[in-house]
Structures are given as structure tokens and as C-alpha cells.
Symmetry: C2
Subunit: 90 residues, 2 copies
């Protein structure tokens, strides 16, 4: 799925992301990928479950976890876990 | 899978859990379920990926997320997200 159907979870309050996901999943894509890294992973899971249980009848189609190899500000390698949750409207 | 093959992720340092998972996955079960709630979800993902990439060749067989309905200390309902990651030795 392209980035057009992706919501990246960051530092904002959780309901900001839920609303973004609801808008996207009700749009033309019929589905959305919720992505997060590091400590935001827990929030991504909350966003997916709150959307599914309170706002849009939807299925969790796929969950992937992987290690992303980034660089810290001094250029040293930095391994960060990430999650992708694909949510589709029923 | 029964609780005999489950590691619950909590407040301890991450490598404690990695070592517990490595011991379990190399034991009689050939697999282990890593479970966590709330903010420990990110740590559970780290534990699964560190085990798989650095210690035991293994596959992530399944990832489930769900909302657990608990009670807070005053008996009020409390919804908490949880994750289960099933890791199997290759």
C-alpha cells in the first residue's frame, strides 16, 4: 500500500490519530496502514483498536513487525522496532 | 498455546525477557508466545525482534492485538490494549 494510505503515529494525542484513521478508512482507499516506531508502537495498537471498536467496523488484515536500521545524530547505526497494522473497512 | 509457553513482558530490563524467551523457545515447546499490555507492547515487539535477529533463527507465526477489559483499583472499567506474538523456532 502506498503512503497515501498510511498514518504515521507520533507524539500527538491519540484521538488525533484515530480521527485521521477514520477519515482515511472512510475515504477512497477502504483501508489504512497504521505505522509507528519505538515507543509509539503501543499507541499505534491503541489507535487501531479504538478505531475498530468505537468508530468504524473494520478488520485487522495484517500486522507486521520489523527492525528498521536508522542512524542517530552522530551517524551511528541505530536499530528501531516498527509496526505496521493494516486495517480494512468491513 | 497454554501459559506454559508464554512470557509476559513487564517492567524488567529488556534482556531479561529476551533470555527468558530464548530459554523457552529452545525448550520442549519449540515456540513461545510473548504477551504484553499497554506501554509494555513496544517492549514486547523489541523482545521478539531481538530474539529472532540475534539469538534464535525463528519465525513470527502470528501477531494478535486486542482490547482487554480490566478494572482499575476503584472497580471502574478500564480498557487496555494487549499484544500476543507467537514466535517459533525454524
Amino acid at each position: 500500500m502506498s503512503d497515501a494510505g498510511t498514518i504515521y503515529i507520533g507524539e500527538k494525542p491519540i484521538m488525533n490519530y484515530v480521527l485521521a484513521v477514520v477519515r482515511k478508512i472512510n475515504g477512497e482507499n477502504n483501508g489504512v496502514t497504521i505505522r509507528a516506531r519505538g515507543r509509539a508502537i503501543s499507541k499505534a495498537v491503541d489507535v487501531a483498536l479504538i478505531t475498530k471498536e468505537r468508530f468504524v467496523p473494520s478488520d485487522i488484515q495484517e500486522i507486521r513487525i520489523e527492525t528498521e536500521k536508522l542512524q542517530d545524530k552522530d551517524g551511528k547505526p541505530l536499530n528501531v522496532s516498527s509496526i505496521s497494522i493494516l486495517l480494512s473497512r468491513i
